[in-house]
Symmetry: C2
Subunit: 703 residues, 2 copies
């Protein structure tokens, strides 16, 4: 049915009379897109922002394995323009309503020589950027085909400053590098990032998207993609001389890029642009380019906070595994418990009790199921079965205990990268979750991928993640994917896909000395989070002395900044990541975590500069309460605020969780002070952020 | 539990005192095995049959990816000898009881230098050959490891005549070549076998196993393997100068051979030897080297005959697909039926009626499920879902219709080589079979394998086939695998795994002009069938003029030979492959197919010579009835027989289905004559076989 409709629409498009000579263009506000064939007959596009060039004339096209691809000259057989302006309501999000306003230019291209294969390029021009994609219409001489190269380029008009991580086929868990485009070289970073489980980055000039750029004249440009379905992730190869960024697709096990079947369209390539950094964070361009929700009834999808049996393992206090090794067996051949297994019934009850007491609806338990003794590093296929608990973890007992306390357990399905094994167990794994009432699952892909030769970010795995999302949707289980490809706005289409990792999370502060530098969280919203929410796992209160065997290890923020992250790092799924006892030591500060919502009616980016600072305020879903987070990099800052977002004429109690005067991420990270004051929309407030610091504020109407 | 027990046994083995200087040996009857370290310290073995060398001193060992493998000098730290003589009863088979009688030599080896890794080689010497395997004991310095090469050699003492097919990673569906070892070159055969769906044979000197050899002095030698589990298939590289055959493992997608985890053992390498060709066919060495049945209750496992909606598609009369192409859609986007779809309810009922009328318990239906319009050739992953019928195939109606007639439908699960897709649907596919009462499934793997880069005969797919067998066992569904790796006797361990293809079946006579040469079926029992039963699909009665668009195409046998194949090609699952109307035209000849059993109490190979002739007689399970098949290659023959297998003193009616006087596979294939006579164990009988002909005889006691 779907195929037929697409066919009809394409036929209609073709009936439009072929339009005149190139260039063709479309625009919206200050953004203008121009399409042209170059002297060689190759299709190109350019993007301008007012009078400023954003992308100079840049190549479009694709090479196919069979030859006869779209890498040679093409002719324009027609084009269509249409204007769209509509509004839609996300199931959850940063705002309650999203405007989708664009001008669309479709350019119909054909090979001048036989077999005359056809290719459409569809551009959507928004006030804050451009998205474009390739569409392969149904046609006689293009049926199944293999892409060997995507020729898309993004020709930068100047040597912008860039915030980048290496273009790695298997991980996004790097620290960001700030450099000019002409200086991009990821080799040392890749080599030295030994704490990342799997690194495959053969091109030292390749960077991952979302790539954040800043021109010397203050223009901000972000390049990424939207709606990554049945296609490999796009990385960007930086030609350091010409400053052209070329699409570099993640290859499959046989050295090609994508197996496709017409009719088909690629993901959207996105260019978000503004002369104002907060606009970048407020952009809904990527979400708008994704398809509407495929899930009919959504009342089971509920943004949520959770605690978890997790940080204690990350910091070395306990283990995921039950026995010291797979060889530690008793006379009956059973594993001998090491006594360090975290996911034991008594300990999990402690977390359940803590969650219940603090109105936190979820408790994640990692390491509950057999297989952890030798799960990592062997590229082995059968690791976990996803349904067999260790002997000390009582599934029925704990789920009913949690239920009696009004709390739900969150499932954990680590795959160790063995996606084939997870595929083989998907049905039984999700039936298990349904049987015991798990509302959500955290999946993981730590390790080299099986099918061997495939990569985390290749087409096969992209299809795998989407397949898992489909199974989870059918099972009505919300999902949080760790170590997947970075997101591209698919949470619009699959609103039960609450969050993901696909970046360097707070956990690196737990298990490495390097950790995440203070600027890290000021970059993430401009990069990784452009594609979707991240399960960063904020909320660490004990900022030093937490790591077994590494007493000097510390988190690279202050405590107040950890609170602020619940607002500045948007996610409908937020963990309170620290241990219950560390929260119990600071009940006043923990109040902010208890209060802060995970779903919003409105969001305002009050101040932002990548790598420097972010201040965001959000309105709670269905309530006149506002929550503000403000963070800095390693520098101290004053952040003056006008509270004009508050409802005029109404009085609010502002509770300000701030760095103490002498706070400092390095020397005095846990020093905070909490003050309250009554404010109105006409008030001003100046937050004092310590080095590596932050502040969080709740605004509740005075009754 | 299992791991622990193995550990204990190994510990016991090690407690035996290290034995004296090499060589070490074991023997049984005329077969003698000798182990020795050569001058370089490499382990070697040799096999003799009486005074005749079978295998000259040949290298043993394996190379590992991490280095430190077993490819350098080793030292002998001890050895064990034990004698075993026991008897077991197969769930079904050629005989009702099998003797397992061997002397076992275990040689414990160790690297002389650090880390001193240990390797055992275990030899079992039977009266008809030798099996040996590598065992990696549990040890400190060998845990997970990767095999990059197996160094096993089989040094032939002379330039034997060989019956071989190319060593292809993806298929066994070649015509056999007869040549001297020194003449092995598969390049032309691979190049010209364009009717085989997927061919990957990079080594022109590689041949597949089972490899059948005949020495000029009349010694027969067969090289294969037993119990292929979690390891790639072994092919043999022929060094044409030295006549050494070297193990050549089928690689995985990343260019290594096997991912292993100690404790582990490889499959058995098997060398069957005799100076009498019938002994080769009677050998139970490979079955004996397999593990006993893993299936507890076996009453659901029933050898069976079946007809099927199949030959009519193979010969071009109808199609698997419902529509002419995937693009043939009506205004509602639904497939427009071509009118040529075989698996429609009315046609299937016709086969059910035919089966019921002739007491044939099964009806296979291929092409019943959606996906056939573009199933092949695109290396696409999602092809079939294994549960959705075409609109004209009424699953509940047909299953209940079949049940009312005392017949069962046999499921068909073609995967097109997309094993990942089948894995993803295994649970639902087998639940579907259970819901509708399908007792058996025929699976298929026509096409390039997904995971892309893997091969039909590599470790990953070996694990896949075994995984499917496990799921089928849990679901109590019998299984018949087409296009899998060739079998290695695993039907002892999984007796519901009734049969497989993994060779060039009768179907090549349907869809190619080349077909199978008259000698083909005289070679198969000496090669492919050494590993297990084959679903060859015999029983074609209309031997010419059956193929649409190819009126001259013909099957390369006589009709009587087609009958004989039910005896000479052993299988517990036998198809009556021709169309009902062709059987109805020859009810007298069809009587043999109705009569012939598929399970036996006894089997005698009365005469055999590879490539020339085979005469086999078998006793029906639980009955004093005997069925004999006799076939020739392209030559006419007289086959004199002594009927001493019959119970002395008893009179039997022999019904002889023979070639007519003027029969000839090429000129007059359908000419047959049926005669009856009363015989006893003292009678003799001479069968006259036409060129490409055969004869079938049933012996039933005279009441």
């Amino acid at each position: 049915m779907r195929k037929y409709l697409l066919l009809t629409l394409l036929a209609a498009a073709y009936s439009a009379a072929a339009q005149g000579p190139t260039p063709l263009s479309a625009s919206q506000g200050r953004v203008k897109l121009t399409f042209a064939l170059n002297a060689a007959g190759h299709p190109t596009y350019a993007v301008a922002y007012g009078t400023r060039p954003v992308v100079n004339a840049s190549r479009l096209g694709l090479a196919l394995q069979e030859g006869g691809g779209f890498d040679g000259p093409l002719e324009v057989t027609g084009s269509d323009i249409k204007d769209v302006d509509d509004t839609w309501q996300p199931v959850w999000g940063e705002v309650k309503s999203i405007r989708n306003h664009y001008q669309q230019l479709t350019v119909h291209l054909r090979q001048p020589a036989a077999p005359g294969r056809q290719l459409d390029v569809v551009f959507r021009v928004f006030t804050d950027g451009v998205g474009f994609r390739y569409e392969f219409p149904h046609q006689p001489h293009l049926d199944y085909f293999v892409v060997t190269d995507e020729l898309t380029e993004f020709a930068m008009p100047a040597d912008h400053r860039a915030f980048w991580i290496p273009g790695d086929y298997d991980t996004n868990e790097y620290i960001y590098t700030r450099s000019r485009l002409s200086e991009v070289d990821n080799a040392a970073m890749v080599k030295n990032s030994t704490n990342i489980a799997v690194r495959v980055a053969p091109d030292p000039q390749a960077v991952a998207t979302p790539l954040m750029l800043k021109a010397d004249d203050g223009l901000y440009v972000n390049i990424h993609e939207a709606a990554l379905v049945d296609y490999p992730a796009m990385q960007l190869h930086v030609d350091r001389a010409s400053l052209r960024l070329k699409a570099s697709l993640v290859p499959n096990a046989v050295g090609s890029m994508a197996f496709l079947h017409a009719p088909f369209h690629t993901p959207w390539r996105t260019i978000i642009v503004s002369d104002n950094a907060p606009d970048m964070l407020a952009s809904k361009l990527i979400l708008n380019l994704n398809e509407p929700s495929k899930i009919g009834e959504t009342n089971w999808i509920k943004p949520m906070k959770f605690v978890g049996v997790w940080w204690e393992m990350q910091t070395g206090h306990s283990t995921w595994s039950y026995a010291a090794s797979a060889d530690t067996l008793d006379a009956q051949g059973q594993l001998i418990p090491s006594g360090r297994h975290a996911a034991n019934t008594a300990n999990v009850k402690r977390y359940i009790d803590f969650a219940a007491k603090n109105d936190i609806p979820g408790v994640l338990v990692e390491g509950w199921n057999t297989g952890w003794e030798d799960w990592f590093g062997y590229w082995k296929e059968y690791v976990f079965d996803f349904v067999t608990p260790y002997p000390d973890f009582d599934v029925p007992g704990l789920t009913s205990y949690a239920k009696s306390k009004g709390v739900s357990l969150i499932m954990h399905n680590e795959t160790s990268g063995s996606a084939t094994n997870y595929d083989q167990h998907l049905d039984s794994a999700y039936q298990f979750m349904n049987r015991y009432g798990y509302p959500a699952v955290k999946t993981g892909y730590v390790g080299r991928i099986i099918p061997r030769g495939e990569h985390h970010d290749g087409q096969w795995m992209v299809n795998h993640y989407n397949r898992v999302a489909e199974v989870a949707a059918r099972s009505r289980v919300m999902i949080d994917m760790h170590e997947p490809v970075r997101p591209t706005g698919l949470h619009r289409t699959y609103p039960h896909w609450l969050a993901g990792e696909a970046a360097r999370g707070n956990e690196y502060n737990a298990f490495t000395d390097q950790g995440n530098p203070p600027e890290h969280e000021t970059i993430l919203p401009f990069t990784r989070l452009m594609g979707g929410p991240m399960d960063y796992t904020p909320g660490i209160f004990k900022l030093k002395g937490y790591a077994v065997g590494a007493p000097e290890r510390q988190v690279h923020t202050t405590l107040a900044k950890q609170l602020a992250l619940y607002v500045t790092l948007y996610s409908p799924l937020q963990m309170a990541a620290d241990l219950p006892e560390n929260y119990e030591a600071h009940p006043d500060a923990f109040q902010f975590i208890k209060d802060v919502p995970v779903d919003w009616d409105d969001t305002r980016i009050l101040a932002a500069e990548p790598g420097e600072y972010i201040t965001t305020v959000r309105q709670a879903k269905g309530k006149d309460e506002w929550y503000l987070g403000s963070i800095s990099n390693e520098k101290p800052r004053k952040q003056p605020l006008k509270l004009t977002f508050l409802t005029p004429g109404r009085r609010y109690e502002a509770t300000i969780y701030a760095d103490a005067k002498n706070a400092d991420w390095q020397k005095n990270p846990e020093a905070y002070q909490i003050t309250k004051k009554v404010v109105t929309s006409r008030s001003t407030l100046t937050l004092e952020l310590a080095p590596g610091g932050g502040a969080a504020v709740s605004f509740k109407p005075v009754k």
